[in-house]
Structure formats: structure tokens, C-alpha cells
């Protein structure tokens, strides 16, 4: 199968793109490209001011998708060819005519199904109490010692971010931190703990291909497998986590308990937590523990599993979601209503906008800028791309940024083994640590901080988090330059 340099990875879209005129060869005037570039910039700005606009992401991108599509249709930029000739080429038995709206073809359904399936799977399995069980076990293992708690919670944040998603990880660990520090009468440490955990969610989000949306998007476009992603990212995540925890200990002045009496009292306090309290059915708990492991195994081996390798990771995620939903077959509606439809709508509309930008040659123009950056050489190019991605994703959503940069790299026929993909991945994830609006999980951390009446302004967060983010980004650049070139 021929991959168009601008194509999404969905099978249907690939079919469409191979038969539609190459967008790179559209005759698009500079004025038109600038007009669409302005629309893209406006959308990114609107997303950055999502809170001020009191509008959800899906609504913002939905409006821009509609405007972009209308303008693109007016400028005759879109490939409106029906699919019948494509299917005829593929010898469809009855030669039937299938028409697909152009904006449906633009959506990367593999990404959508991974997010939908994995989200549902995590929602259902969390009902078993397995994540709170792990969290309380970890708390008890710390014996209530603040420094041990920081290290254990930090490691747990990273692992939960990798297994679930950054937002869910922050909610679970952040909530437990509030309750356990309150129990230990250590509320003065709460701010430091929550900031450290918020920062670590974005480090943990680097661990696997499905840990964060930028990973899914970039990994899919670059063709990086689950196992390959893990093997490359894991060493960096370990080092970055250790450094972040050490900095947290120093900056937030978190110390171990000094006397035996203090240790004894703290241990007694955390011992009062009952990890089994949230488990309503031991059978379902065990089932979720097993199916959770199988889920990770299936995702990691999907690329070599017969049939699943053709059906994709989205199929694996959706299938596992369906399996666990069987346990709640009479009440699936409550899980459907808990699905983050705003996020899914946001992605769908975002893919539409980016597709239009491709046809309007906006991505090609940006690609020239990236090419110029990369042309600075093997050292400055990757370093600049990592730092640039990080700074850009600190002030706006890292998802459109990752999607756009990945598409530009694909358009430049970037080698799947190139370190540039990793520059985008590291930059897009770690950039979220610079500002409180840089990533969804830092927004959660700040929400918990404000919920508990702790004072932390936008500037206060930047001042506190900037040293961490700077060190993490420098570490990422060093890692890319030393090991991934």
C-alpha cells in the first residue's frame, strides 16, 4: 500500500488519499494559505484561552472546523471525489457506490478508537477498586514518612499516568495525597506534593505509546510500535522521575521523620486506611487485575498478533472495553454517559481542521520552517525542535501541536527511526509542565490546589514549575542527542 506523505493512518483515509490528488500539488495561492494559517492561529489562541471563553474544546474546534470546511469548499481545496472508483480498483464484488463526507475521511479513526476504547476500559476497571487498592497499599508501605510518601506517590503517579491517562492519574493520586496528608497532619506539604505530582504526570505520560494523546498521534504517524516506544522512552522516564523527585525534596523541603515516636505515630495513622474498603466484589477485582495485565500485553504485542496487526490498536482497546463492559451489561449506559465526549469531539474536529490546513498548504509552509530548523544540524536541529515544541505546548494544547508537527514530519518523508519524532514527543509532553494550562493534568493539579484553598496563581505556578520543566527539557535534549540520533 502506498502511503501518501500527507495521509492519516486510517485504512479508509489511506484509500481515499491514494486516489485523490496529492494535496501538496494543489494550486493554492499564498493569500489563501495565509488566510487558513490565520484561522489555525486563531484556533490555537482560542484553545489557549479556553477557560476565559467558557467554551469546551470540542465547541471551539467544532466552530473552526465548520468555518475551515466552508472556506475550503468555497476555494475548491477539498477532494470531493466519491469512493466508488477507489473501491472499484479494489474489486468490490457488486461495484456498489459508497460515498463518504470529506470531513469523515479526514478523521484519524484509529486514534479516536484508542482513546474511546482505552477510556471506557479504564472507567470500568476502576469500578473494581483496583487503583484505589494499589494507592492505599503504597500509602501504607510508606509508613506515613513524608519523604517516602513523596517518592512512592511520585512513582505511582508516573505508573498510573502510563497505564491510565495523565488526568485520571492526577485525580487518583492527588485525591489520595489530600486525604493522607490531612490524616498525617502534614497539610503544609500539600502544595509541594500536588505540584510535584502534576509535573510527574507529564513525565509518566511519556512511558508508553498510549500514555498520552501526543504519543498516540505521533507514534501512529511515525509507525512506532508499542514495545519500541516503551524501550526508547523508559530509560528517560526513570532518570527524569528521579531528578524531579530529588528537586521536589529540596525545593519543597520534604524531609523524613526523625524520631522513632514520630515514625510509630505516622505508621499507626496510615495503617487505619483499609485498602479493601472500595472493593465491592472480590471476583470482579481479580477479573480486572487479570484483564488489565492482558490489556497491556495485547497492546504491546498487537503489531505481531495475527489479525490484530491488521485491525490496529484501536480494535484492541475497543475489544477490551467491550469485554469488561459485559460485567455491567445491564447498566452500560452509565459508562457511556461518563465517556469524555468533549475530548472525542475535540479530536474529531481537530483532525478535520488539520486536514483542511493540509489542503490549504499551511502545513507545507510550516514544514519549510521546521526544515529550516532541522537544517541547522544534528545538534541544534533536534534541540531546537524539542525546546520549540515544549514552549509552544506550554501556552496551548499540546495535542494540535503534536498532530500538526507529526503531519509536517510525515510530509517531509522523515525516517521512522529519526530522532525528530522523539523531539516532538518529548517537547509536546514536557512543555505541559511550564504553565498551569500547559496540560490537562496540571490543570487538575491546580484545581485540587484551589479546591483546598491553597494559594497558587498562574505566575506562582510558572515560578515554581519552571526550574523543573527547564531541567526536564534539557534532560530530554541531552537524551535525544546522546542516544537517539
Amino acid at each position: 500500500m502506498i502511503h501518501s506523505p500527507f495521509s492519516f493512518t486510517s485504512h479508509l483515509t489511506l484509500l481515499a488519499d491514494t486516489n485523490s490528488p496529492d494535496p501538496a500539488h494543489h494550486d493554492v495561492s499564498t493569500g489563501t494559505t495565509l488566510l487558513f494559517a490565520a484561522i489555525l492561529v486563531l484556533m490555537i489562541v482560542a484553545l489557549a484561552f479556553e477557560e476565559k471563553l467558557h467554551a469546551k474544546k470540542s465547541i471551539i474546534t467544532g466552530v473552526f472546523a465548520a468555518v475551515s470546511l466552508l472556506l475550503a469548499a468555497a476555494f475548491e481545496l477539498l477532494p470531493f471525489a466519491p469512493l466508488k472508483h477507489i473501491l472499484a480498483v479494489n474489486n468490490l464484488p457488486f461495484g456498489e457506490k459508497i460515498e463518504m463526507p470529506v470531513f469523515i475521511e479526514a478523521i484519524d479513526w484509529n486514534v479516536i478508537t484508542i482513546i474511546f476504547g482505552a477510556g471506557l476500559f479504564v472507567d470500568v476497571t476502576s469500578k473494581s477498586g483496583i487503583f484505589s487498592w494499589i494507592a492505599i497499599k503504597v500509602t501504607k508501605a510508606s509508613g506515613g514518612d513524608p519523604l517516602k510518601l513523596l517518592i512512592y506517590y511520585g512513582a505511582m503517579t508516573v505508573l498510573f499516568s502510563a497505564m491510565l491517562n495523565n488526568v485520571t492519574a492526577m485525580i487518583i493520586v492527588g485525591s489520595l495525597t489530600v486525604v493522607s496528608l490531612n490524616k498525617l497532619h502534614r497539610n503544609e506539604l500539600l502544595l509541594g506534593f500536588l505540584v510535584a505530582e502534576g509535573l510527574l504526570t507529564n513525565v509518566g505520560g511519556l512511558l508508553t505509546l498510549i500514555s498520552s494523546v501526543p504519543n498516540i498521534i505521533v507514534g501512529n504517524i511515525a509507525g512506532i510500535s508499542f514495545v519500541k516506544f516503551f524501550l526508547v522512552a523508559a530509560p528517560f522516564v526513570v532518570v527524569c522521575t528521579a531528578v524531579t523527585l530529588w528537586m521536589s525534596k529540596v525545593i519543597f523541603k520534604i524531609k523524613s521523620l526523625q524520631s522513632d515516636q514520630e515514625r510509630k505515630e505516622a505508621a499507626a495513622l496510615v495503617a487505619a486506611f483499609d485498602e479493601n474498603d472500595g472493593i465491592e466484589s472480590r471476583r470482579f477485582f481479580n477479573f480486572c487485575a487479570v484483564i488489565g495485565l492482558l490489556f497491556v500485553v495485547a497492546l504491546s504485542s498487537q503489531s505481531v498478533l495475527p489479525l490484530a496487526d491488521k485491525l490496529g490498536m484501536g480494535f484492541v482497546a475497543m475489544t477490551f472495553a467491550a469485554i469488561v463492559l459485559v460485567a455491567f451489561k445491564h447498566e452500560v449506559n452509565k459508562f457511556y454517559s461518563a465517556v469524555d465526549w468533549d475530548l472525542l469531539g475535540f479530536f474529531a474536529c481537530l483532525f478535520v481542521v488539520i486536514n483542511v490546513m493540509e489542503h490549504a498548504q499551511v502545513l507545507a509552509a510550516l514544514g519549510k520552517g521546521i526544515s529550516a530548523l532541522v537544517a541547522f544540524g544534528d545538534l541544534v536541529g533536534p534541540a531546537g525542535l524539542t525546546a520549540g515544541s515544549a514552549v509552544a505546548s506550554s501556552v496551548t494544547d499540546n495535542i494540535p501541536l503534536a498532530a500538526m508537527l507529526a503531519k509536517i514530519l510525515a510530509a517531509e518523508s522523515t525516517d521512522p527511526k529519526s530522532s525528530l519524532w522523539w523531539c516532538v514527543i518529548f517537547g509536546a509532553n514536557l512543555g505541559g509542565n511550564i504553565t498551569p494550562i500547559g496540560s490537562a493534568s496540571t490543570v487538575v493539579a491546580v484545581t485540587i490546589i484551589h479546591k483546598h484553598k491553597l494559594k497558587l496563581s498562574f505566575g506562582g505556578f510558572v515560578k515554581t514549575a519552571a526550574p523543573f520543566a527547564a531541567v526536564q527539557i534539557v534532560l530530554a535534549i541531552i537524551y535525544v542527542l546522546l542516544f537517539l540520533r
Partner: protein, 285 residues
């Protein structure tokens, strides 16, 4: 998102079990307050000592304030403060020979409970205010409250005043009428599924005290106490249920708090109980 944060905080708060922490109650000195002469006071003391055989093993000192020792409430409070006992033993309507309002402890005892935080053992009296014979010992002790969870002091006193191999009954009654009042308001909120709220709330209100009772049983056993612990954790009408349990368990000593943190002593429920259960020895904390 805030609702998810709240949901997980609730999960972890629920997992935080309030476990009993046992403290042995020392009773080294007892002050008997009567309004009788020395001879009668001695008889009362001997009877009380038999009844309190469970604390007699530690040989506490007994002192008596009799009829000649005080004339006014201030006199009595001054004497009590001077002695500073660990336990006061007395009875209702001290120095009230002509007028005995049934629904009261009498001026002296009422003022005493307000002025001190020393536990007071109120000896049983009949309708005419005459002292009743005390049971031979405290083999069946009951502590009652509507917030048992975490009330270590109440359980400590219950355990301290139950003789070896005796029975300690821990009672937590949630008031049905109050619950229904709140529920009637919940029913008017369209966003809430009333049956779900009712069931969840009932379950939650009883869960914590039930778990606390289990921890009491375990902690008291580990402390080496050879008493049997029974419990009643339920919804109901407090006074009626307490009375029924007093009869069911042939309770010889009833223990309860006389005050909430922010209240004067002998507030609503404590006042009702002292007025209603006159024939049972009461330990007022």
C-alpha cells in the same frame, strides 16, 4: 472534573477507618456526695463500693461530703474542685425534701454537671426520690450515643466499669425522624434519585459505627480485657430503643455523655435520659 476529584476523595476518606485507641481509665479517688448524716452516708458508700467492685481492686480512696458540709451550690462546687476526684458518686434532688420535680436531677446535681467535667455516677431512685438498692456489680454495662465512631472515651469508660466476663453493650442509634426530615428535602431536589440517596445514606450512616465497633472488639481483646462486647447499630427512636435495650440486657450501668463539644451539659438527649431512666445507675461523662 471536580466531581471526579470529589469522587476519589470520597473513596479514600471512606477507606480511612477510625480505629479505637484504648486507654485504661484510672479511678484513684472517689467522692461521695450525699445530703444525709454520716451513718447513712457510710451505708450508701458501702453499697456503692460493692456495686463498683470493678474499680475497688485498685483501692481508690473514698471521701464523703455529707449534709453538714455544704449549704449552697457554690459550696458544693468549691468542695468538689478542692477534692478533685476521678469520680463523683451521688444521687438526684440533693437537699430537696419538699419539692421533687420528676423531670430533673435537682439543682445541686444539675449545677454540678455544668460546673465540672468529672464523671458522675448517679445512683438510682424511685418515684419519691428514695435510693433504690444497687445491683451487686456491673456485669452488664451499656454505652449509648448517636456518634459512636471515634468516641474512645465512652468505650474506655464502658470497658473500665464492666466486670471481668461481664457484657459491654455498645449502642449507636441514628434518629429515624431526623433522617426522614432530611430525606423529605432530598426528595424535592430533581437531580437526586431519592431511593438511591435513601439507601446509600442509610448504609453510610451505619457503616462507620459498625466498623468502629469491630475495631473496639479487636482492640479490647488485644488489651487483655475479658469482657464480652455486644452492639446495636441501627436506625430508630433513641429513647425508646435505649429503654428496650436496657430491659433486654438487664443493664446495671448506663453510660453516656452529658454534653456535646459546643453545648452546656445536660442538653436535649442527656436530659431526657436522666429524667427517663431513674431506676438504672447512670454514669454521666
Amino acid at each position: 472534573m471536580p466531581d471526579k476529584i470529589d469522587a476519589f476523595e470520597s473513596i479514600f476518606k471512606s477507606a480511612d477507618k477510625l480505629s479505637m485507641v484504648y486507654d485504661h481509665i484510672d479511678v484513684r479517688s472517689v467522692l461521695l456526695v450525699t445530703d444525709r448524716n454520716a451513718a447513712v452516708s457510710d451505708q450508701i458508700r458501702e453499697s456503692a463500693q460493692r456495686f463498683l467492685s470493678v474499680i475497688e481492686r485498685e483501692k481508690p480512696s473514698w471521701e464523703t461530703i455529707g449534709d453538714e458540709s455544704y449549704q449552697t451550690v457554690d459550696d458544693l462546687i468549691g468542695l468538689v474542685k478542692k477534692h478533685g476526684p476521678d469520680l463523683i458518686v451521688t444521687y438526684r434532688h440533693l437537699h430537696e425534701t419538699h419539692r421533687r420535680p420528676r423531670m430533673s436531677l435537682g439543682v445541686f446535681l444539675d449545677e454540678l454537671t455544668q460546673a465540672t467535667t468529672i464523671p458522675v455516677l448517679v445512683l438510682p431512685t424511685d418515684e419519691d426520690g428514695h435510693l433504690l438498692d444497687l445491683p451487686p456489680s456491673t456485669t452488664s454495662v451499656m454505652v449509648v450515643t448517636d456518634h459512636l465512631t471515634g468516641d474512645n472515651e465512652l468505650v474506655d469508660y464502658g470497658a473500665r466499669f464492666t466486670v471481668a466476663k461481664g457484657t459491654l453493650v455498645l449502642v449507636h442509634i441514628e434518629d429515624d425522624a431526623t433522617f426522614e426530615t432530611y430525606l423529605a428535602e432530598f426528595e424535592k431536589i430533581p437531580d437526586l434519585e431519592t431511593d438511591l440517596v435513601r439507601n446509600l445514606l442509610r448504609e453510610r450512616l451505619l457503616k462507620a459505627p459498625s466498623e468502629y465497633v469491630q475495631s473496639c472488639i479487636e482492640v479490647l481483646r488485644k488489651a487483655g480485657l475479658t469482657i464480652r462486647v455486644e452492639s446495636k447499630v441501627a436506625f430508630g427512636h433513641r429513647i425508646n430503643d435505649y429503654e428496650q435495650l436496657l430491659n433486654e440486657h438487664s443493664v446495671e450501668l448506663l453510660i453516656f455523655h452529658t454534653r456535646e463539644d459546643t453545648e452546656l451539659a445536660m442538653g436535649g438527649m442527656a436530659y431526657l435520659m436522666t429524667a427517663r431512666f431513674t431506676k438504672t445507675p447512670l454514669l454521666l461523662l
